[in-house]
């Protein structure tokens, strides 16, 4: 296939879609399916068949539409009309919806979700632009929305050097959490010497509370493959690995199917789009280890070894997989590549703030009215996310804190609700952007308990290679356990703080270095809660049991 064939394919698919008067898009991502989405999809297909609307109506199973807690979701596209979005759809309601759009019978208004509510209006979809509009299993759907044109353009009109230049100019930074400039990383791998080079997409999204990467892989797999191929061309690699978390079997299956479809059409494999560029992609499935999100551990896992990190330098850009130069990017980072090449670096750089460009996907969860997946421009305030997009805290309770960055991040208290969400501002508050998990907590969440939860997580997930992390996390968890059961003394809090600093400074990899962050940040903002546990034996949120006496006092009695 060449660029002309690609264009023909796109035109043919657009024409095919235009023959339908009405396209009913049903969300078929995990959250909606768990709420009964497959029954809704079946009911719609039946209703179309029974009514004899086969020529006019099309039912499409798409990826995620965003407001997961309002699922199952349906979007109806009519020719010439505006899209109508329906929420909490039941099989009966879906029949009404089909009947309404077929014969202009009254609309089932109680299911309509207005398209101009802040949840949609405040978002800007770049990476997720296709999610919810295309069938992720059909290559044609992606191509009809301009898919693979960026790859074609890069192969034909750009040199590897200019591709790297374009990514540098766009200001794109790694979406995995650390925020390293993506273009600089690409340029480093491009300049590195090696007879073979590799591109790795990091889809090991272990952060509890984050599911952005899963949604992107499930909803728009070709977007990711196109990004990887462009990266391969830019750095001179002919082999890519897609590391998918073991908990995401649907994502792995869809990606494998997408790779086969793309290879069949000559969009991956040998002589991509009739150029001299070859690029193969293999999927590797993880086996449940959080530490494999760390790049050196991830590479060990790809090579069939235990996922234990190794000291850097040498960085993967110099010596990675099988000691060859390797480019590792997060899935969301690679998802931003095709739009940048397509619309230009300047377009992308206009979105966001001075130092953090573009958009960021957050998995909004916890105690907010509407939870789900959102993509917002960098620099939006936390208040806008919680109160406008999320619709505020349910049950009339007050906002207490937002947790970003999962077990490597920290909490943002109510006093900082107006903080812009970008890499620098979050770091200044002692948290991190992280991969994009955003958990909102209300008055009923105990911050000491939350810190303990994350410490338990890090303790379980420590790979055991270096002592500070292996032993330190156990000790920190033990101290937090004492605070929440009421057996802690003021001395314990001091020990905890010392230990946090020590583990942070001496651990080998990112897991250990960031494990103390949730504790440090909750101590910083919610010291009075820690003191209430220790001094007054009181858990203000009513979560902790505090049924034990302090150990030193016991000794005195």
């Amino acid at each position: 296939m060449n660029r002309a064939d690609l264009e023909t394919m796109a035109q043919r698919e657009v024409q095919r879609q235009q023959t339908f008067r009405c396209r009913i898009l049903c969300c078929a991502s995990t959250p909606c399916l768990s709420s009964g989405g497959s029954a809704v999809h079946d009911a719609i297909k039946d209703a179309i068949k029974e009514g004899g609307f086969d020529a006019d109506f099309q039912a499409v199973a798409t990826g995620c539409m965003g407001p997961c807690s309002r699922g199952p979701m349906i979007t109806v596209q009519t020719s010439g009309g505006e899209d109508v979005i329906y929420e909490h759809v039941t099989p009966e309601a879906s029949r009404q919806i089909v009947a309404h759009h077929a014969a202009a019978s009254p609309a089932p208004v109680e299911y309509i979700l207005p398209g101009d509510i802040p949840f949609f209006a405040k978002q800007k979809k770049v990476v997720l632009a296709n999610s919810g509009f295309i069938d992720p299993e059909r290559l044609e759907d992606y191509v009809a929305r301009g898919g693979y044109t960026a790859l074609g353009y890069a192969l034909r009109e750009m040199t590897p050097e200019t591709v790297c230049r374009e990514i540098i100019d766009s200001g794109l930074r790694g979406r995995g959490g650390a925020g390293y400039p993506t273009g600089l990383k690409w340029d480093m791998v491009r300049k590195a010497r090696g007879d073979r080079k590799y591109v790795v997409a990091n889809g090991d999204e272990g952060d509890p509370g984050a599911y952005m990467d899963r949604t992107l892989m499930e909803s728009d797999p070709h977007r990711l493959l196109e990004g990887m191929a462009i990266a391969g061309y830019a750095v001179g690699a002919d082999q890519g690995f897609l590391y998918v978390r073991g908990e995401y079997p649907i994502a792995a299956k869809r990606l494998e199917r997408a790779i086969r479809a793309a290879e069949r059409r000559g969009l991956l494999g040998s002589r991509v789009l009739d150029s001299n560029f070859n690029f193969r992609v293999d999927v590797r499935i993880g086996a449940g280890a959080f530490v494999c999100g760390e790049e050196t551990a991830l590479m060990a896992s790809i090579m069939g070894m235990r996922g234990q990190p190794v000291p850097r330098p040498p960085y993967p850009a110099q010596s990675g997989l099988w000691e060859k130069p390797t480019l590792i990017n997060n899935v969301e980072t690679l998802g931003s590549i095709a739009p940048i090449i397509q619309h230009g670096a300047a377009w992308f750089a206009e979105i966001g703030t001075a130092k953090s460009k573009g958009t960021k996907i957050f998995a909004l969860a916890g105690k907010v009215d509407t939870t789900g997946l959102i993509e917002v421009p960098m620099g939006i305030t936390l208040r806008e996310i919680v109160y406008d997009i999320g619709g505020g805290i349910p049950d009339g309770l007050d906002f207490k804190a937002a947790q970003t960055g999962g077990p490597s991040g920290g909490c943002i208290p109510a006093a900082h609700l107006d903080t812009p969400m970008d890499y620098e501002s979050l770091r200044a508050l002692g948290s991190i952007m992280g991969s994009g998990g955003l958990i909102i907590m209300d008055e009923r969440s105990c911050m000491v308990d939350v810190a303990k939860f994350f410490m338990e997580f890090c303790m379980d997930e420590s790979c055991g290679k270096c002592v500070p992390c292996r032993v330190g996390t156990v000790q920190m968890h033990h101290l937090l356990e004492r605070i929440t059961t009421g057996s802690a003394t003021a001395q314990d809090l001091e020990t905890l703080q010392d230990l946090c600093v020590m583990v942070k400074e001496t651990s080998l990899c990112g897991l250990g270095q960031s494990a103390p962050n949730p504790v440090l940040s909750t101590i910083h903002y919610f010291l009075e809660e820690y003191m209430a546990h220790i001094r007054d034996h009181q858990c203000l949120a009513g979560v902790c049991t505090l049924d034990q006496a302090p150990i030193t006092e016991l000794a005195l009695v």
């Binding site: 768990s34 407001p67 807690s69 509890p208 086996a287 449940g288 069939g304 235990r306 060859k324 916890g366």
Partner: protein, 195 residues
């Protein structure tokens, strides 16, 4: 580590010797071995297949995989015990996973675990003595919008409470007693594989 795996090469796979036990499930493993041309870096993929076919990784299985991939047994054992996905002990007839990701945790998933642990006198990560139920916790299944989430025999069940969770598990165990074979839980979507 002195042993290193080699990068993938596209050479012709050599035929696998048939397993002496004649167990047809070994041919599933052999197929994966062939698909990856007996490359040592495919160890994790092979273990995935082995666990899917046999339910858990027995010593025999680990020895077989080590032999086929020409890897030291200690290496294979190290990998199998490092990753949470692999289990070296047989699993119960039914499988209940409670998500303990952050979103589920702040919506009190811990209470669900406690209720199940008490009702079936089993600790999370273990199987009941009669081998009927394996209870485990997971760190985020990525369905945070539906927290707290329970996965019962592969079906994702959204927005559970301790009471509803107990009822679901009770029903699931009952169903199987009546029909003789485990049934997928109703009102939920199959978690693994959509077709």
């Amino acid at each position: 580590m002195s042993v290193k795996t080699s990068p993938p090469s596209r050479t012709r796979p050599r035929p696998a010797a048939e397993h002496p036990s004649g167990d047809p499930r070994f041919s599933l493993i052999d197929r994966t071995l062939k698909r990856f041309s007996f490359q040592q870096d495919a160890l994790i993929e092979v273990l995935h297949t082995a666990q899917e076919a046999f339910g858990f990784l027995s010593d025999d299985l680990l020895i077989y995989v080590a032999h086929q991939l020409k890897l030291p047994l200690s290496w294979v054992y190290g990998v199998a015990t490092f990753y949470h996905f692999f289990t070296l002990t047989p699993q119960g007839e039914h499988n209940c996973i409670v998500c303990m990701g952050t979103a589920c945790y702040v919506k009190r998933a811990a209470e669900i675990v406690a209720a199940l642990q008490q009702a079936y006198s089993v600790t999370a990560g273990e199987t009941t003595r009669d081998g009927r139920l394996s209870l485990s916790t997971a760190r985020c299944l990525g369905s945070c919008g539906l927290a707290p989430v329970l996965v019962l025999d592969g079906a994702v069940l959204p927005r559970e409470t301790p009471e509803s969770a107990l009822e679901r598990v009770r029903q699931q165990l009952m169903n199987a007693t009546h029909n003789g074979a485990p049934q997928p839980a109703t009102n939920g979507h199959a978690f693994e594989g959509e077709e």
